[in-house]
């Protein structure tokens, strides 16, 4: 896959950072405003996909990137399940317990473990979508060559 024209590249450079930041905002404010881990993770993945589409696949090494994203998604889900299972062994012996203090409704640091779940699920979703995209791109390159 070749890169696109200079204008597209410049605009993408400006925009992808903004999209990335917006994705992070959506993830971290998931318990206050619409959105959450899934929406934000997909937006973050979108920012990377935009960069790859605009600059072409020769800029980065796709295979290294793919193995990194696939390890990232495993790690993120591992943390999610450890967070969920932690309630089983200490606290109140309940699977998926919200064992951190809830705090005040409407504050950024509130709602116990929910923001943590949001962050790690967001990480997992973005990494998984990127893995799927990179897998398809790598396959296409192999077929073309």
């Amino acid at each position: 896959m070749n890169g696109m024209s200079l204008i597209v590249k410049k605009v993408t450079q400006l925009m992808s950072g903004l999209i990335f930041m917006y994705g992070l905002y959506i993830i971290t404010h998931g318990h206050l405003t619409p959105g959450g881990g899934f929406a934000g993770g997909a937006i973050v993945a979108g920012a990377f996909i935009l960069l790859i589409l605009a600059f072409g696949s020769k800029v980065i090494s796709l295979r290294t990137e793919k193995s990194q994203t696939s390890i990232t998604e495993s790690l993120a889900l591992l943390i999610v399940i450890i967070l969920a299972g932690a309630g089983l062994f200490f606290g109140s012996y309940v699977f998926f317990n919200n064992y951190l203090p809830e705090g005040e409704v409407g504050e950024l640091i509130s709602a116990g473990v929910i923001p943590l779940y949001n962050i790690f699920v967001g990480m997992e979703v973005s990494a998984a979508l990127l893995t799927i995209f990179l897998g398809l791109v790598i396959y296409k390159e192999e077929v073309a060559s």
Partner: protein, 512 residues
């Protein structure tokens, strides 16, 4: 430590998430971990049986108690029926995973194979344990998506085509189930199975409920490959790698198809005459048409796949007769006998069909082909495979010392005593056709003239493959013991009780 059903899901999921990370750096880690996980599940399951649990064990995920008797959390329910099916799943999973250690060596991307296997086990365990209809849908999707990928694991032309067919029909089934879940939520405003059951037992049979039931029968019938919906099964089950074929035929169609149908139509909905009649007719059709389609097959695994449809027909007519008798309000002991026969045949079928698929895998491993016309005289080179195949063939065609005989006998006795003479005659007839079909398999594969000597790829099987096959044939004989009252009361009777006492499921759960 307290017994908690949540470990059945946490442990395989942890394995699936660890394998891509650590398996990337450490060689051989994936095999050891998968075998250990499945072994742990089997031991945990047997421990549950030995200590004798106070059924049902209920875990409220998140610890949310019911408000005004309306459950608001997802329940994990571990009762007799779940325990019975979990034992089947974990046993076959352990033996298949151990077999796979030797078999999968030829393929690349072993990490992904074992991770997907763990995910499939977690998905099936989730379906069986769940007490929440939307949760059943979610975990069903984990199991079937993992199996789509595993069917296409070899990435040859046939495997891709089979996987695509499987995905299209499986996807339609999933969407129908989702639509039915939406309709149920519309009618009852709740997702908890026990709560839905309470509402439906009070209310009358509305037309919307009939529509929902039809959608559910079609959806889960597609997953269980009953006869009008069977088109994907022979392709998918014959194209997958052999340990996966054993898993798909042995447990997947039962866990996500038959189990869900049993749970929904016995414990949740009010049993009606129409539904039980439809289920019995579908079962009888599967039984007869499956075996007739199997006769003409020359591809070994395809033949076995068609027999899966036919043997699942036995299970379905067993529970169907039970449903008909319960609905007729007839003799509860006969109903219990029929259901016991069906469930017993379920675990027996998992064992002997799993073993037959593993044998087919061993033949393919050695001879490089699975076309019966090109095989022959293998008995001399593969003593373990031929003797275990003989045992499994005798089990599937109902020859006395093996388990298949007893479960079929139970079903036929129940059919006669419940005055379903036609079904009993059909069951006997199908059994003879099965016997003929497996005599053909044994003759062409093992005892015919020696045609395949020159083409043998390797001269000995890996130890792990032999171990799994021998263990399974021993289990095939040991399972016959379940007909003895002591063992029956430990394993089979709690499962049957859950189904026979249809409304007890809801009443036991709601008060908690």
């Amino acid at each position: 430590m307290e017994l908690t059903p949540a470990l059945y899901i946490i442990v395989p999921l942890l394995g699936a998430f660890l394998i891509p990370v650590i398996g990337h750096f450490v060689k051989g880690f994936q095999k050891v971990l998968t075998v250990l996980i499945t072994l742990f599940l089997v031991v945990y399951n047997i421990w549950f049986f030995v200590t004798g649990f106070d059924a049902p064990v209920v875990t409220k995920v998140g610890g949310w108690e019911a408000v005004n008797d309306v459950p608001i959390a997802i329940y994990l329910v571990y009762d007799g029926l779940s325990a019975f099916i979990l034992l089947t799943i974990c046993l076959i999973a352990f033996l298949s995973a151990f077999y796979a250690v030797g078999y999968i060596k030829r393929f690349t991307a072993e990490n992904n194979f074992y991770a997907l296997l763990c995910l499939m086990i977690a998905g099936m365990n989730g379906v069986v344990l769940s007490g929440d209809i939307f949760n059943i849908y979610v975990f069903l999707e984990i199991a079937v998506i993992a199996s789509y990928a595993l069917v296409a694991f070899g990435t040859e032309k046939q495997e891709l085509e089979a996987s695509f067919k499987y995905q299209v029909l499986g996807g339609i089934a999933s969407i129908l189930i989702l639509f039915a879940v939406a309709l149920l939520y519309w009618q009852t405003q709740t997702l908890n199975l026990a709560d839905i059951s309470v509402i439906l037992q009070e209310g009358t049979q509305t037309t919307a409920l009939i529509f929902t039931e039809v959608l559910l029968i079609v959806g889960f019938g597609l997953k269980a490959a009953m006869i009008p919906f069977h088109a994907w099964l022979p392709d998918a089950h014959s194209s997958a790698p052999s340990p996966i074929s054993a898993m798909l035929s042995g447990v997947l169609i039962k866990a996500v198809g038959i189990y869900a149908l049993l749970r929904l139509f016995f414990n949740i909905f009010v049993i009606t005459y129409e539904v039980s009649l439809v289920i019995t007719i579908l079962g009888a059709l599967s039984m007869v048409v499956g075996v007739l389609l199997a006769i003409g097959q020359w591809d070994l695994k395809r033949l076995l796949a068609y027999h899966s449809i036919s043997q699942m027909g036995y299970v379905i007519i067993g529970v169907g007769i039970g449903m008909l008798i319960i609905q007729r309000d007839g003799n509860m002991t006969i109903a219990a006998l029929a259901i016991a026969g069906g469930l017993f045949h379920m675990i027996n079928h998992a064992l002997f069909k799993g073993l037959l698929f593993l044998d087919a895998g061993a033949i393919e491993f050695m001879a490089g082909t699975r076309n019966l016309r090109n095989l022959g005289g293998l008995a001399r080179y593969m003593p373990v495979t031929s003797s275990t195949s003989l045992g499994a063939s005798m089990a599937i065609s109902g020859i006395p010392p093996f388990n298949g005989f007893f479960s079929k006998l139970l079903i036929i006795i129940a059919a006669v005593r419940g005055e379903f003479y036609l079904l009993a005659a059909l069951a006997v007839f199908v059994n003879f056709v099965t016997l003929g079909s497996f005599m053909k398999f044994m003759r062409y594969a093992f005892y015919n003239s020696d045609k395949s000597k020159a083409k043998l790829k390797t001269d000995r099987l890996p130890f792990t493959m032999k171990f799994s096959m021998i263990t399974m044939v021993i289990l095939c004989v040991l399972m016959s013991l379940m007909i003895i009252p002591y063992f029956r009361e430990i394993m089979l009777t709690p499962a049957v009780d859950v189904l026979v006492n249809t409304s007890e499921y809801a009443t036991k759960l709601i008060g908690l």
